[in-house]
Symmetry: C2
Subunit: 490 residues, 2 copies
């Protein structure tokens, strides 16, 4: 008979939400088993945010130095690809999770290696090559198994062994040419990273432009930058067929046929068109859910279609916002909800099947209110792109009475002092009924850390009249705020 | 008989508060004369913030590139002093104010060149080499004449022709050695700038450390950095005597005697021990004020000791916070106050001599509430130092029930990705009674633009429980906020 162990909470998936939640629960006196089939730290740490930012920062730092008179005279030569990769290797611990695992275990979390899957309510079986272990959860099972790159149905695509985010962030050599399917953040970041390393990059977008989910000026401006950098952007095209040519080479080049009949030759093809939830092999069928589905959750991250208050889903798989920081936020929220429910201070639960369980008071510590109000995101291209909350279009689609206010950031002295010839643009979305900011978008060098001022303004629901008194320091780029509020009419 | 002209408002001093206020008033239909004896744009534009940041950014950009593996392989050689100076020259328009003057005039402001001084209530005489002009102000006279470096009474100091901020920011050659009197922001910034250019710098502090007005960790950490960079910091010393040696050279070196009897040889000596208000020659005596005094103002910037509602003082000379951005904030506030008073919608005024006129409702558009609640400041050393609101000590001295919460920024992945070996520290001051943040201080690379998130939190009086939902993007340095709030106990 298989081994059976009992914990307060069993977590499947040790990515950012999994380990964040586990540590919080243990700190609050709960016993937690954290199940992981790959690396403790997850996609983000080893194959996404961390390595991509590690690849993107060296070209950014070098470009900035090259764009400041006085400093640029000391810049000679190119980025060292070898050193960029070795920097990346350091940040991903050479894809060895010993440090992460030790960190999590030191906090008191029990890490269980193997493939975890549900076996009915509150039961998880972990399969590993040695044995099966059954984990019984007293309080809750939390799913945080993340997503993987979607490989669309395109003739020859799978056989051609395309790159996903994993290959792109984990590459050990610089391809001479790279085609990219997808115009979202991953496609754009990798276009920039590999172009900086000398790769001839072609970005293929099925849309009119790139980054269509953001304010229009963002994609337009980044397209201009890409053009200047020699990145070819093909819009309104789809890939019809892919063939890995047989030139008797180790890794022969690809021939990519587009739906307009034209072809592109590229050494590699990165597929970055979307994400598929890792919910197909986790036993969802044993609790009445459909394998492979996204898992709809309420604001405490309880899975809405499952009766009771024991099954939660965090991060990518609940499809609220596929971002590490939102996943970690949900983990903080969900840990609180589990603790409050265990203490009996939070009693709302699902009636099963219905979707009633979302009547929480907003902004409580166990309610993921920001998922609706203010999801921030930074795209680490150069210039950086930062956004939070609603776009103008998004707000209008909800019939909100909003006004978009723009400011050209080259009018900010602090920005010009940062890099000669600074170019950037900022927009805030003002809710005219409530007289506060419900969204902000910026593009420009280093706007990533400027974003949090907007996030706090949105989350804090700080009225414009009060924001008027938040004085940005001279000469910082933050002075864009004065320009935005003046352009609003303050 | 001298020429007499009538305006709604006469402004003496065309620095940042002067021109900011003037433009706002003209936009609101008022006629404005802006009197300037030196350069339109003022101390900040030509001899302070702008040129100092212009000097400081090239070493910062180069250091950052040198601290990112992959980028650093392309950095060879030193900062080009010649190019750094030429960059600085560009930012100060070669000390030619034609552009600034044209910008201001284009907005409809009448610029009057010459030395402006009061000639009784609502009257200003402008003396220039050609003629005297009398300007009569219908509504208000606004003084914004700024400050100049204080030269303390030290034997031989004036005769030795020491540097002030003007010489330090305006230098055309790099001195081989530089002694600096003063451990405040100017002293520290110039120590860093000249050290980066190869100057042997000795910083002389009369205090136990440097930057004593800030949280203690700031000065301690910057001292360590200075030490590593070869900047000598001498604490608890005062300059007793200065002598410019007569070596029959063009510009012979200095011999500086300290009060402990030791001597320092330096090519130049920068005096940065404080500021003196430019109020000695502006006719204060004609309205019952004492020439040379700081001018105490109420929250609309009305000079408290003068009867009525016609005399305002903005910026450095009101001694509230000697910072360009606060001066510009006061200008925005004061312009609104002048307009509201002209419309009769704001009726509070001084009773003359008394200091009663400060009973304004806080946060109104014409009330400079941030002067008390949240003065932000960035010191552009590398690492940057950023602070807003109260220090722990400052809050306790007002008997506030506060708690200081700290976070070591090298635990932030986004920071480490920014520069290898990132080191930084952040502290927030929590008002335990109101459960919100009343101060924040950070030291670390590029924290300058991170500051505004704290400023909005302080100004917006956003409760900690709400701030908890303001999710910083991964992987940005802003994630320091999560660490701070977790360390608080959230």
């Amino acid at each position: 008979m298989a081994l059976e162990r009992i914990y307060d909470v069993v977590v499947i998936g040790a990515g950012p939400p999994g380990w964040t939640l586990s540590i919080r629960l243990v700190k609050n006196g709960m016993s937690v088993a954290l199940v992981e089939n790959e690396l403790v730290g997850g996609e983000c740490n080893y194959w996404a945010c961390v390595p991509s930012k590690a690849l993107l920062r060296p070209p950014e730092a070098l470009t900035e130095a090259s764009e400041v008179e006085g400093a640029k005279q000391a810049v000679h030569g190119q980025l060292s690809a070898e050193s960029v990769f070795s920097r990346r290797n350091k940040f991903v611990d050479n894809w060895d999770d010993s440090n992460m695992k030790a960190m999590v275990e030191k906090k008191g979390v029990v890490v269980v290696r193997g493939l975890g899957h549900l076996d009915g309510p509150r039961r998880v079986i972990v399969s590993s090559k040695d044995d099966d272990i059954t984990l019984v959860a007293n309080k809750a099972v939390v799913l945080s198994t993340g997503t993987r790159a979607t490989i669309p149905k395109v003739k020859g695509l799978t056989e051609a062994q395309p790159w996903t985010n994993r290959n792109a962030t984990g590459a050990k050599k610089v391809p001479s040419s790279l085609a990219i399917m997808g115009d979202g953040p991953v496609g754009c970041e990798m276009a920039h990273a590999y172009s900086s390393l000398g790769t001839k990059v072609t970005l293929l977008s099925i849309n009119d432009g790139i980054l269509g989910r953001y304010e229009p000026f963002v994609g337009e401006r980044l397209m201009e930058v890409f053009k200047r950098r020699g990145i070819s952007v093909r819009t309104n095209v789809n890939v019809k067929e892919v063939e890995r040519l047989n030139h008797k080479q180790d890794h022969p080049p690809l021939n990519i046929t587009l739906d307009d009949g034209s072809t592109i030759a590229a050494q590699e093809l990165l597929v970055a068109v979307g994400r598929t939830p890792n919910t197909d092999k986790i036993g969802l069928e044993t609790v009445g859910l459909k394998p492979g589905d996204w898992l709809q959750v309420d604001d405490t991250c309880l899975v809405q279609a499952v009766e009771g208050d024991w099954l939660y889903a965090l991060g990518d798989i609940n499809h609220r916002a596929l971002l590490t920081h939102i996943a970690k936020y949900q983990a903080r929220v969900c840990a609180t909800a589990i603790i409050e429910r265990a203490h009996g201070t939070l009693t709302t639960s699902n009636s099963g099947g219905s979707k009633s369980g979302n009547s929480y008071e907003p902004w409580k510590k166990w309610v993921a209110t920001a998922d609706h109000a203010a999801v921030p995101q930074v795209i680490f291209t150069d210039p950086q792109i930062a956004s939070v909350g609603f776009t103008e279009k998004g707000a209008r689609s909800l019939d909100m009475n909003v006004r978009a206010v723009d400011y050209e950031m080259d009018a900010v002295i602090g920005a010009l002092l940062h890099t000669d010839g600074y170019s950037g643009h900022a927009r805030i979305i003002v809710d005219e009924d409530r007289h506060l900011i419900v969204g902000a978008t910026m593009i420009g060098p280093q706007v990533g850390d400027l974003l949090h001022s907007a996030t706090i303004a949105v989350i804090g629901e700080v009225p414009l009249e009060r924001l008027w008194h938040a004085v940005p320091s001279f000469p910082t780029t933050s002075e864009v705020w004065v320009g935005l509020l003046e352009n609003y009419g303050l």
